[in-house]
C-alpha cells in the first residue's frame, strides 16, 4: 500500500555497529515515493553521528529479508533493515 502523505510508518532495523549507534530499531513517518537512497539521506540528517555508516555503500539495505537496491521504492509500511559489512563467523 503506498504511503499516504506521511500517514505510514517506516520501521528501520539496525545491526552491528549501526545498532551500537542507533539501537535495535527506529520509526520514521513514511514519505510518498521515497527510495532507499532517500531514506538513507533522511536518516543521516537525523543521526549525523552515524551518517558515515548510513550512507556507506558497504551497508546494504534489506526488505523482507532480501537485499534491495538504492532505487527501491518504499511503500511506507515495511521494515527496512540496514546491514553493515559482515564479520563472518
Amino acid at each position: 500500500m503506498p504511503a499516504t502523505g506521511g500517514k505510514g510508518i517506516v520501521r528501520i532495523g539496525f545491526f552491528g555497529r549501526l545498532r551500537d549507534a542507533l539501537g535495535d530499531e527506529c520509526e520514521v513517518p513514511a514519505e510518498r515515493g521515497e527510495t532507499v537512497a532517500r531514506l538513507r539521506t533522511r536518516l543521516a540528517g537525523l543521526h549525523p553521528g552515524a551518517a558515515g555508516d548510513l550512507l556507506s555503500p558497504g551497508v546494504r539495505a534489506f526488505v523482507a529479508d532480501e537485499a534491495v537496491g538504492e532505487d527501491f521504492l518504499l511503500a511506507g509500511q515495511e521494515r527496512v533493515e540496514f546491514l553493515p559489512p559482515l564479520s563472518g563467523g
Binding site: 545491526f15 555497529r17 563472518g88
Partner: protein, 156 residues
C-alpha cells in the same frame, strides 16, 4: 545435515559423538573447532567477543553453506553449531564436522565450510576490551581463502 545456533558453550565431544552415531558405513569424519582468541589482532586483551546475528538471515546463511558443502563434496552427513551472543576467550565459537566415504572429501568439506563461514555467515563480531570495542571484518587472508573455492565460469 544439522545446523544450529547455540546460546551456551558448545560440547564438542557430544556433537562429534552424535554425528558419528548416525554414520552408515562412511570411512572418514573430520571436525574443526574455532575458539575465541584472548587477544585482538592488535595484541589487546579481549574480555569477550559479541556475536550479533540476524533473526532469520543468519540461519539462512549457515544452511546455505551447509547445503553447498554437502552437494559439492558428496557428504553423507555434516554438522555446524555456531555460537551467538557473548563468547568468552577460550570458548568454542563454531563446531564444524563432515562425514564422507573417503577422507579427502571430509577434509575439503570442513575447510570449505570454514572459509565460507569466515566471510559469508551473517554475523557481526565485536571484540570488547577493557577500554573500548572493535567491530571485526574479514581479513584479506579470509577473503583470499574464500576465493579459493570460487567456481570460474566454464569457457564456451
Amino acid at each position: 545435515m544439522s545446523v544450529r545456533l547455540a546460546d551456551e558453550p558448545i560440547a564438542a565431544e557430544r556433537e562429534l559423538a552424535e554425528l558419528t552415531a548416525g554414520l552408515t558405513g562412511e570411512g572418514a569424519v573430520v571436525s574443526f573447532l574455532g575458539v575465541a582468541r584472548a587477544r585482538s589482532p592488535e595484541g589487546e586483551e579481549v574480555e569477550r567477543l559479541l556475536l550479533e546475528h540476524h533473526p532469520r538471515l543468519t540461519m539462512r546463511s549457515l544452511e546455505e553453506i551447509a547445503a553447498s558443502a554437502s552437494e559439492r563434496f558428496g557428504l553423507s552427513s555434516l554438522r555446524i553449531v555456531h555460537r551467538r551472543g557473548a563468547v568468552a576467550p577460550g570458548e568454542t565459537i563454531v563446531f564444524a564436522a563432515a562425514a564422507a566415504v573417503h577422507r579427502r572429501a571430509a577434509f575439503d568439506a570442513v575447510d570449505y565450510m570454514m572459509d565460507r563461514l569466515k566471510t559469508d555467515a551473517v554475523f557481526w563480531k565485536r571484540e570488547d576490551m577493557r577500554e573500548g570495542s572493535n567491530w571485526v571484518e574479514p581479513s584479506e587472508e579470509d577473503r583470499e581463502a574464500r576465493a579459493r573455492w570460487s567456481e570460474a565460469p566454464c569457457p564456451e
